[in-house]
């Protein structure tokens, strides 16, 4: 009965259009009332859920991303990507993916990536005769790369959800090869679609121009080196690297590029506050929801059910992936990480899956969920940038979903893709 109230009120509130955070919080509140427990516990969980030091990485990476978009770092990275891969088949599509790869090295947010890279690329692609849905599809799906390439604050959320004992540096490193693999598979797909549709290529601007663009984008690229090198050589911890990214982005945009007037700085700050508050309120309310699930012993029962279905790790991993994909279509990434990690991680480890490997699977899987309706933050951003409806994007997005899913399966069943690189650094 308790579970019916919890999930019933959650879905009902979701259906009447209540913001997701409040659906989670109010559903927990109602269930606690029904069970006759003191309701104060809901607000204790909410407050504790967000009072976690490692969560500071989220506002900082979002803030850094906003500063980079407004302060010209993102545009220069896109220009460099254009010179590098624009001459390939489906040129600007390839540029879009390459730009996501580069921007992903400085930002950990797929939504920031879609609005930054999409905001710059989609209008250009439209002007060069690409179909808008193609431009939007590439923008949306390639943003998942930003989640995989370090830094990624979702890896930090996962590490916290896993009990705070996983090395964030290892998780960061583990995402690199899967992120590159995803980029390659999307580039191949973009090439294949472009060839069928006869999309144009861009002329190669020449080595001289490439060099000039490289120099111009250098400060942005250096940030990638600072973040990764700094974490790996002990200047700062992984969650502190987010802070260094903000300070560095401020220095570069204000002093080197001189492209960040006061008014833009204020807007970037307000924007970061808005996004952060939205994301972290969901995390806080998901903490109430997750607490109730634990209290009602849902994870334990689920483990028993899964174990009764099969004892084959391949089957279990496939089932977990499918459940996560389904959940991912309905809910956003960070609350799902917080809610499902305590449920699925014990199952996965019981079947011999490394927790770091499982983290990579989970981030990639839920990243796909960000690009699927009905709840897909990145898909919404992409459609808003391209001014098309979700259904218009959905008609032609399938090859890109396919590429992302194929990558997910490879990453799931070839642990070395995730675990080899961290072992090299160890």
């Amino acid at each position: 009965m308790e579970l019916w109230i919890l999930f019933g009120s959650f879905v009902t509130l979701l259906m009447i259009g209540t913001p997701v955070a409040f659906c989670l919080g109010v559903a927990s509140f109602l269930t606690v009332l029904y069970m006759g427990l003191p309701p104060v516990v809901v607000f204790q969980r909410l407050n504790s859920g967000i009072s976690v030091f490692a969560l500071i990485a989220i506002p900082f990476f979002i803030f850094a991303g906003d500063l980079m978009v407004r302060g010209d770092i993102a545009r220069r990275l896109v220009a460099l990507a254009g010179a590098m891969v624009g001459h390939m088949r489906g040129g600007l599509g390839q540029v879009n993916i390459m730009a996501s790869l580069m921007f992903g090295g400085v930002s950990g947010s797929a939504a920031a990536d879609a609005s930054a890279v999409g905001g710059l690329m989609v209008p250009q692609m439209k002007a060069r005769g690409y179909d808008v849905d193609y431009a939007v599809n590439i923008t949306v799906v390639s943003s998942i790369i930003a989640l995989m390439i370090p830094p990624s604050h979702n890896m930090i959320i996962y590490s916290i959800a896993a009990g705070g004992r996983l090395s964030i540096a290892d998780l960061f490193t583990a995402g690199i090869i899967p992120g590159l693999l995803l980029a390659v598979s999307l580039m191949v797909t973009a090439w294949w679609v472009a060839r069928r549709k006869g999309y144009p290529t861009e002329p190669f601007p020449g080595l001289r121009m490439l060099g000039a663009l490289f120099v111009s984008a250098m400060p942005g690229l250096i940030l990638i080196a600072i973040i990764f090198g700094g974490v790996r050589s002990g200047w700062f911890t992984a969650s502190e690297s987010s802070n260094v990214a903000v300070v560095y982005a401020l220095l570069v945009t204000a002093l080197v590029y001189r492209s960040l007037p006061w008014s833009e700085f204020v807007e970037a700050t307000k924007g970061a506050v808005r996004t952060t508050a939205m994301v972290l309120l969901v995390i806080g309310c998901a903490a109430c929801f997750g607490w109730l699930l634990a209290y009602l012993r849902v994870p334990t029962q689920l483990v028993e059910i899964l174990q009764s279905v099969s004892s084959n790790p391949i089957v279990i991993l496939l089932m977990i992936n499918i459940v996560l994909l389904i959940l991912g279509t309905f809910m956003d990434m960070s609350p799902l990480i917080v809610i499902t990690t305590p449920i699925f991680l014990p199952v996965a480890t019981a079947f011999g899956v490394d927790p770091v490997h499982f983290g990579v699977i989970m981030i990639l899987n839920l990243g796909i969920g960000l690009c699927t309706p009905p709840v897909g933050a990145v898909l919404f951003v992409g459609c808003a940038v391209g001014r098309i409806s979700i259904w218009q994007a959905m008609r032609t997005i399938w090859p890109f979903y396919g590429a992302a899913f194929a990558t997910l399966m490879l990453v799931t069943y070839v642990p070395a893709l995730s675990l080899w690189l961290p072992s090299v650094f160890r």
Binding site: P38, V41, R45, F53, A54, G164, S233, W235, T237, A238
Partner: protein, 302 residues
């Protein structure tokens, strides 16, 4: 039929979890299954401070937590968490199993918590990646991760080392990359966290021997009949004996494991200079006559 929910931050199989499970088994037998204690391990219901609050509210019925987490709620536990107060784990047993233990239990009762059993949390010691620490001089200038607590920060100051607060999950890579030189914990955690891989010098200085306890919510306790209360108390006492044995065994096992893996454990150190260096810390935190008396009595207990 009564179900009691008990929270623990440690994973299944850990001595504290096994202790409460043993208690649950004994209670189930003696009440013919009328009272069932369910243990929620691995911080499923929250961190220690949160689950203590939940127990006070009566949201959950039992909690296993360290004295350190009660410092804000039951002030006397602050005294019991001072560095180098207990000279050995046996000393802490002698104190808690005697009249002082009863005084402390009474202090818990005032805050809606019924102390059922004292458990062992082992002794915390320093480990680092740089050099074997034999004396205070060896600690000079080293950076250690400590828990976010003013007492520990002052303790590190008094020893001439730098206290660095940071989330537990970042300690491994921070030692590995040199953000910090080391951390401090007991053997089982030193082993299970993998920190032994990156910080191979362990010095058994036993600076913190902080007891733990199993406490029950006053609300849940008052709902039980006196007979059931007696059953619970006895089962809790028995589980305490078992938990202390399990803990000792776990410590030995972890010690063997880390030494086999190449960690260097320094056991023979003179603790006297360390204890003497704590005078300013005690001056700062032991201010009232009652607390001074308590410290005296603890030190006098054999």
């Amino acid at each position: 039929e009564i179900t009691l929910r008990s929270s623990d931050t440690h994973p299944d199989g850990y001595p504290t979890v096994e202790g409460v499970k043993a208690m649950a088994e004994e209670v189930r037998e003696k009440t013919d299954g009328r009272i069932c204690i369910e243990v929620f391990p691995s911080s499923q219901l929250g961190e220690e401070k949160d689950t203590i609050e939940q127990t006070q509210f009566g949201v959950i019925d039992m909690v296993r937590a360290s004295f350190g987490s009660f410092n804000d709620i039951v002030p006397v536990t602050q005294i019991m968490s001072l560095p180098y107060l207990f000279t050995s784990v046996e000393h802490s047993h002698a104190v808690l199993d005697g009249p002082i233990g009863e005084e402390i239990a009474a202090a818990f009762e005032e805050r809606d918590l019924v102390a059922l059993a004292w458990y062992d949390g082992g002794a915390r010691s320093f480990y680092n990646s740089q050099r074997p620490i034999q004396s205070i001089a060896d600690l000079e200038g080293m950076k250690f991760r400590v828990m976010q607590n003013d007492v520990f920060v002052d303790m590190m100051d008094a020893l001439g080392a730098n206290a660095t607060p940071m989330p537990y999950g970042e300690v491994y890579s921070s030692i590995q990359t040199g953000v910090i030189d080391g951390a401090e914990n007991n053997f089982p955690s030193y082993d299970s966290s993998g920190h032994a891989e990156v910080a191979k010098y362990f010095t058994l200085d036993e600076h913190l021997i902080v007891p733990e306890l199993v406490a029950m919510s006053k609300t849940s306790w008052d709902k039980l009949t006196p007979e059931d209360q007696a059953i619970l108390r006895e089962a809790a006492q028995n589980s305490s004996t078992l938990q202390r044995e399990l803990w000792a065994a776990q410590e030995q096992e972890s010690l063997d494991k880390v030494t086999a893996a190449g960690a260097e454990v320094i056991t023979e150190i003179d603790k006297t200079p360390f204890i003497e260096a704590m005078v300013p810390v005690y001056d700062k935190y032991v201010t009232t006559p009652e607390n001074k008396d308590l410290v005296e009595r603890i030190r006098a207990t054999q």
